[in-house]
């Protein structure tokens, strides 16, 4: 009993940092409508900066001053980011904002390694709060007690700030209706900047406060961002109080989950989140989004199926790809096969995003499930590749059936965050369930059948399957079902008014996309001969998003072009540059800001412009 009470206190202490980060995320979203993926990066930077400052400065003043200075420095960095980057993309669809801030996250990851090195760093203990106090016969660190008090204190200060200051009133007004606030003559630019600075300050402070408890590592950004997403989804985006309650719930679930059900502690949080979302889709204290923003894939130029000429061109492209083994060696074929696998993965995500308007931030889950499914069949059941390729993707399908059912209840950023959370849970199962998945060591020795073992044959197999898959997805986009998806995407109101069951349509689309991703994953397992947790980790999900974006979100099959260019670039970068994430992150940010329509979107714009130019020329000649 005493032990449980102490465990409860540990949970409360963990909630403090989580609350700071999540409330910052929530405040920023409330006013700017931006889901700041880089929030985890700011948290991590806060921790690293606090480490350096507290190492340099001495005494209690040095320590506490160091923490505070670190958080303030992070806020200053946030101001620069807001002015230079976010101001350009406030009106863009939310996917672009998530991607741009993810690009920042990637850059920070490499920057941190460049500055502080790859090793984990252990910071100093808090002066005056070293040691522990005995409570119920158990030892509780003093610093934990400090954090337990800090959480509600910050909540109270935020409450005062929002209720008692003019600035706070403006922030609350802008959270409700930012256009109205702008119409009243409030300088929105600086309101947004200051809100972003406050949110990022809280993230930096959350990170800085962690250093006496935890080692500082360069993986802490993604860990906290996923937890913070879960917290704001449970608490309700935009609600600071909700963030507090949810942070306590999540931290306590973690604290007790580890005691009671260590194997499924992460799944426990997810189960609670899922249950809450079923009853309250906008979280415990959130409110429904008023007018949904313009969805992706909305274009003034209606999509057309391929003309005869275009079909012949596509067939020719496939034929040329089939001739590759005549000119290239084994290594090139393996690289080409890998690129092909990712074109199918990107096409499946593109299908969901462009036709369905659903930006999944966790699509890698279904890719990875397909890969693990194939590996289970091939290794554990000892069945041949042919069976594994058929059965493996079914695991991706099953995952999409379960997760999709929850996800399609939400839309926009909630949808994106929930898909991300599910993917992270899938990853942690793959990572923790060592008996089944081999954990970090993965599953090795997943080899193709003898007939497909040489690189050429396997390349042809991959080409055949991916080309068929991409063609099938494209055909589906123009089928009645594709129209149903577009209808559900364009106008929920109209769709329901003409008998379309939006959720059922989107769930089906989710399952289709998950299954095709699973097929790509199963192929990938045999291509590499192994499966690892990283095959369903967040970076892969983001790779998929970048491929779709690079190809063009307003196009039917742009993802294919995006995947080829991006994957080729990424493979080349990794072989060339030491800090590839920095470059990649920079590419993503540039892409979002300067080139938002993608490659195929750009080409289509050019083609649409041409006839008009021609007509003008004709008119000129006639004069």
């Amino acid at each position: 009993m005493e032990f449980l009470a102490v465990q409860f206190l540990t949970g409360l202490a963990s909630a403090a940092s989580l609350f700071l980060v999540a409330s910052g995320l929530s405040i920023i979203f409330g006013v700017t409508r931006i889901v700041n993926f880089a929030h985890g990066a700011f948290y991590m930077l806060g921790a690293y900066l606090a480490y350096t400052l507290t190492e340099r400065l001495s005494g209690p003043l040095g320590f506490w001053g160091g923490l505070l200075t670190a958080a303030l420095a992070i806020a200053a960095i946030g101001v620069i980011v807001e002015i230079m980057l976010l101001r350009r993309i406030y009106r863009a669809p939310e996917l672009f904002q998530l991607l741009a801030t993810f690009g920042l996250t990637l850059m920070v990851q490499d920057l941190v390694v460049m500055i502080w090195g790859p090793e984990d760093l252990v910071g100093p203990r808090a002066p005056g709060l070293k040691g522990a106090i005995e409570i119920f016969g158990q030892l509780v660190p003093r610093y934990d007690l400090f954090l337990i008090v800090l959480g509600p204190t910050v909540l109270g200060l935020l409450w005062l700030l929002f209720r008692r200051t003019r600035w706070g009133v403006l922030v609350r007004a802008a959270t409700q209706d930012r256009d109205m606030v702008a119409a009243l003559g409030v300088n929105q630019k600086w309101l947004f900047t200051s809100v972003f600075a406050l949110g990022v300050f809280l993230a930096g402070l959350g990170g800085a406060l962690q250093i006496p408890r935890d080692a500082v590592s360069h993986a802490m950004d993604l860990r906290i961002i996923v937890e913070a997403f879960v917290v704001v989804v449970i608490g309700g985006l935009g609600s600071v109080f909700g963030a507090f309650i949810a942070a306590v719930i999540v931290s306590e679930l973690n604290a007790f989950g580890i005691l009671i059900l260590p194997k499924i502690s992460l799944v426990l949080v997810f189960l609670v989140m899922a249950a809450i979302l079923v009853f309250r889709p906008w979280g415990l204290f959130g409110r429904a989004e008023g007018q949904p923003r313009q969805t992706l894939g909305l274009t003034i130029r209606p999509w057309k199926p391929f003309t005869r000429t275009e079909r012949i061109a596509a067939a020719l492209a496939a034929l040329v790809a089939a001739l590759l083994p005549l000119v290239d060696g084994a290594y090139a074929l393996t690289v080409a096969a890998e690129i092909l696998v990712f074109t199918l993965f990107a096409a499946s995500l593109g299908f969901l995003m462009t036709v369905g308007g659903l930006s999944s931030f966790g699509h890698a889950a279904y890719f990875g499930l397909g890969a693990y499914g194939a590996a289970f069949v091939a290794k554990s059941a000892g069945l041949p590749m042919e069976v594994a390729l058929l059965v493996g993707p079914l695991l991706g399908l099953a995952g999409a059936v379960v997760f999709g059912w929850f996800c399609v209840r939400l839309s926009g950023v909630y949808f994106a965050m929930l898909t991300l959370a599910f993917a992270q849970i899938t990853w942690s199962v793959a990572f923790q369930w060592v008996e089944g998945t081999g954990g970090d060591n993965g599953i090795l020795g997943v080899w193709p059948s003898a007939w497909a073992a040489n690189p050429e044959r396997f390349y042809w197999l991959v080409l055949a399957i991916t080309a068929t898959g991409i063609a099938a997805l494209r055909a589906l986009a123009f089928s009645p079902f594709g129209y149903a998806m577009r209808a559900a995407r364009d106008s929920d109101l109209r769709a329901e008014a003409i008998g379309i069951d939006r959720k059922r349509v989107q769930w089906t689309a989710f399952i289709v996309a998950g299954t095709f991703a699973g097929i790509a994953g199963a192929l990938f397992a045999f291509l590499k001969g192994s499966v690892f947790p990283e095959n369903l980790a967040i970076p892969l999900s983001i790779d998929g998003l970048v491929m779709v974006l690079l190809g063009g979100v307003e196009t039917v099959s742009g993802a294919v072009a995006g995947a080829i260019v991006y994957k080729a670039l990424a493979i080349w970068l990794v072989s060339q540059a030491e800090f590839s994430k920095l470059v990649l992150g920079g590419v993503i940010v540039t892409l979002v800001v300067a080139f938002p329509k993608g490659i195929v979107g750009f080409i289509e714009d050019m083609r649409a412009r041409r006839p008009r130019a021609k007509a003008a020329a004709v008119a000129e000649a006639a004069e």
Partner: protein, 248 residues
């Protein structure tokens, strides 16, 4: 013979505010019924309850004798109720014809068909309906670039896709030029007569209302204060008071 639409004691409140209170009326096949009232009178709430977007607190809605209270918009549409919106809701990334085709596909329960080009389904029927509302020549245009009046006409055609018995039109002529308004309502009236539809519409333009409605209901502060043929309503003291001010 039962009426096409029967409403009894429809009530909805938000917090302490009665948006709609104890509204009862009936609509016969082939008739056009107008629901009017000042802003905030509860017209839209009333409308949204009829098509299932809002669940009433109390009251019963029957369509062709069937109790539809609490059914979803989808289910009510399947029973033969077409609807247009105050602010048009269309599929803007599609062409005008494709908008029709989606509605027709849904009507024939073909939306989950995974193969074939949707653009080849129901072309004849889609174009016939577009011709009916005078949009045939714009079938290939992107919906997102239509003029507002054309969007309203497209919505009417879409609402007719499931061969409805009842049409619900929320401010069908809002945002249109006077000439367009008269045209659209003449068209609606003609369709209603020819196909034996019942039409319920809300409207702010009194010229439109008195020219086209067979009967008129006046809603004020959530309550029906008058209903009858146009002449009756025109002479009703309470209606005058509501619109012109003065003692009630």
């Amino acid at each position: 013979m039962t009426a096409l639409l029967e409403v009894e004691g429809l009530t909805k409140s938000y917090g302490g505010v009665h948006a709609v209170r104890d509204v009862s009326f009936a609509l016969e096949t082939g008739k056009i019924l107008a629901l009017i009232g000042p802003n905030g009178a509860g017209k839209s709430t009333c409308f949204n309850m009829l098509n299932g977007q809002i669940r009433p607190d109390r009251g019963v809605i029957r369509i062709a004798g069937r109790n539809t209270t609490g059914l979803s918009p989808r289910a009510i549409w399947r029973l033969g109720v077409g609807r247009t919106f105050q602010i048009t809701a269309t599929f803007n990334s599609m062409t005008v014809r494709e908008n029709m085709q989606v509605a027709l596909l849904s009507h024939h329960r073909e939306l989950f068909v995974p193969r074939g080009f949707a653009g080849r389904f129901h072309v004849g029927r889609a174009d016939a309906l577009l011709d009916l509302v005078g949009m045939g020549h714009q079938a290939e245009r992107a919906c997102g670039e239509l003029a507002y009046g054309d969007l309203k006409r497209l919505e009417l055609a879409v609402a007719l896709a499931n061969e409805p018995k009842l049409l619900l039109m929320d401010e069908p002529t809002a945002g249109m030029a006077p000439k367009e308004r008269a045209d659209l309502m003449n068209l609606t009236a003609r369709i209603a007569r020819e196909r034996g539809l019942g039409v319920l519409f809300t409207e702010h333009d009194m010229d439109v209302v008195f020219a086209h409605a067979d009967r008129i209901m006046v809603l004020n502060r959530g309550e029906l204060i008058a209903q009858g043929v146009p002449q009756q309503v025109r002479n009703d003291a309470r209606v005058k008071a509501t619109y012109l001010g003065g003692a009630t």
